[in-house]
Subunit: 346 residues, 2 copies
């Protein structure tokens, strides 16, 4: 029997309320995870077996200025949960929203791992037949080339550890496939990723990917800055929902269409399951000293259980340590020896 | 009878070849447009009535470095067509690809209108029930705030003149709806657009729009830089095609699904017609001294006829002059008096 993993969970970030989070935690606990739930004890009620409820009624989930709220509200549930992870009372953090508060609470309390410039938010996208780990989807509006390079190796290490992809193919999201396409930051990151990925095992840099090929399975990890990533992610959501709505509308526009829609229902349910955002458990905060997972506020107990499961897997698979090793091997840590030294074969 | 409009068309930028372009030109000519077609006379054959074929067999449509190709190939068909527009022999330019060559040939030969920083590529997106004029989709990888401000007024003026939207709602694409969200360039553009749009009629600045609401009809004109715009546009294409393919796959996965798909076919054909990229005629190059339209290389004669029609409409509706007037009224021309002076009520 391996040591149980302890996950600290903020119960105030789910739209369905703290009791739904506690239900997700109970499901995870029934599979052997130790869960500390931070939230209003009164709303949660009796703690299920394996779950410790820590009374933390203060919520900053809806704060307009999340970073400021994290700084000024040390007793907020999300801050207390992150502090427990930082202090080693738990091995991983799971929280809902807001994303800004999750990143800030993690950054201040769990802190960056050694040599990391900036934590990044990585979201596994359930593209049918071609899943992609997409980062940064919103932690850093502006980035330097070395940040993008770290994102690439961080994403690859996490894809290997948690998603079980042996040799992840890493790409940069750009406005053309040619290495000459993109912002100056991207061109520089392209050059560095080409050079550094060639010197290490377990990762392949496949160059630039465009929006048109993004969904075609040409890369396992797609890297961009947090502005473009956030815009892209929301566009994917918006276009998917508009288009599926239009298909549904077409199916309801006539008796003939309705009959067709009924016959298709089973097959489309399969597609909906493929696209289910709860299946992936949420986004990972990469670059911390411990594992952090942010689930969507809309998640039900099922998605929250999954988020706790993903966090546990990250701990068991030593995702943080392996990320560190990968960055070290690639010479991509902050303050690493210059590239020319790092790439000399020994 | 109004004066006929003359449109110069490059015949070398269509995947289906010069004869297909000539067929599109013939259809436009039959409605009274004068068309000058620049391309290989041999491949085109006899000129239909109303069409003048100018033998210009040299093509740079597939050049790897379009800007350099435009500079070094003065007899390329696209360059000759643009030169005819610059010289006043034609009122508007219509060309296919590459987009880079189209923008460069226009910039060098038709030239920027007075007070314009940078031309921008604006594409009408056929979102069902909520069409959007989206710019810049690829002309400028890096922009300054004042460029984004011009894009907003240029897009609005064009939407008014060519799309017939009386008071276009202009938005900035960002990573959040709050005015505090975005890159430093966006925050500055947001401030300037708020101030300047308040002083002029015929345009409403509605703030930031995110990808999730992009498809929901909250704005008529959505402004972004050419990097984000190009990535976003290709993502919309990629996600749409993957998703419709998955729906089709679901419909073909069983006998039941196939029967449903057959019954739905008519309704889905309506959706496909709504999404038809040829219907809009292509993207507009805004900020030139005359009208420029770039159609997709994949277009058939129908889309090319439409592109010529859109160009003619731009000329008849004085899109260029009205764009200039709108920018002048907003104090958004290059070298305009400082904002404080421009916004003093007279």
């Amino acid at each position: 029997m391996p040591e149980p993993v302890t996950v600290a969970v903020d119960a105030n970030g789910a739209d369905l309320g703290p009791a739904e989070v506690a239900a997700g935690a109970a499901a995870a606990a029934s599979r052997g995870t130790r869960v500390l739930v931070y939230g209003p004890a009164e709303a949660i009620g009796d703690a299920p077996e394996g779950v410790t409820v820590v009374d933390a009624p203060v919520s900053i989930a809806k704060a307009a200025e999340p970073v400021m709220a994290v700084r000024s509200t040390p007793d907020a549930s999300i801050v207390r949960a992150a502090r427990a992870v930082g202090a080693g009372e738990a091995d991983a953090l799971v929280c809902g929203g807001s994303t800004g508060a999750a990143v800030a609470a993690s950054l201040f309390n769990i802190r960056r791992a050694r040599g990391i410039y900036r934590p990044a938010l990585a979201l596994p996208l359930p593209i049918p037949g071609a899943p992609v780990l997409f980062l940064d989807v919103g932690a850093n509006v502006e980035v330097r080339p070395e940040h993008l390079v770290q994102f690439g190796f961080m994403g690859a290490a996490f894809a290997r550890a948690v998603m079980g992809i042996e040799r992840p193919r890493v790409a940069l999201l750009s406005n053309g496939e040619e290495p000459t396409k993109g912002t100056p930051e991207l061109l520089e990151a392209h050059e560095q990723l080409t050079a550094r990925a060639a010197t290490v095992e377990g990762v392949e840099f496949v160059g630039n990917v465009e929006g048109t090929t993004f969904t075609e399975g040409v890369a396992d990890v797609v890297v961009t800055d947090g502005f473009t990533g956030n815009v892209a992610l929301k566009l994917i959501e918006g276009v998917s929902s508009t288009l599926l709505g239009a298909v549904r509308g077409a199916a309801e526009s006539s008796a003939r269409g309705r009959a067709g829609g009924l016959l298709l229902r089973g097959a489309l349910r399969g597609l909906r399951d493929d696209l289910d955002p709860e299946a992936a458990g949420g986004a990972y905060i990469l670059g911390l000293r411990r594992v952090g997972v942010v689930h969507h506020g809309r998640f039900t107990r099922r998605g929250i259980e999954r988020a706790i499961g993903v966090a546990e897997r990250g701990v068991r698979e030593r995702a943080v340590e392996r990320t560190q090793e990968a960055l070290e091997a690639a010479g991509a840590l902050r303050g690493a020896p210059s590239e020319s030294t790092a790439t000399v074969p020994s």
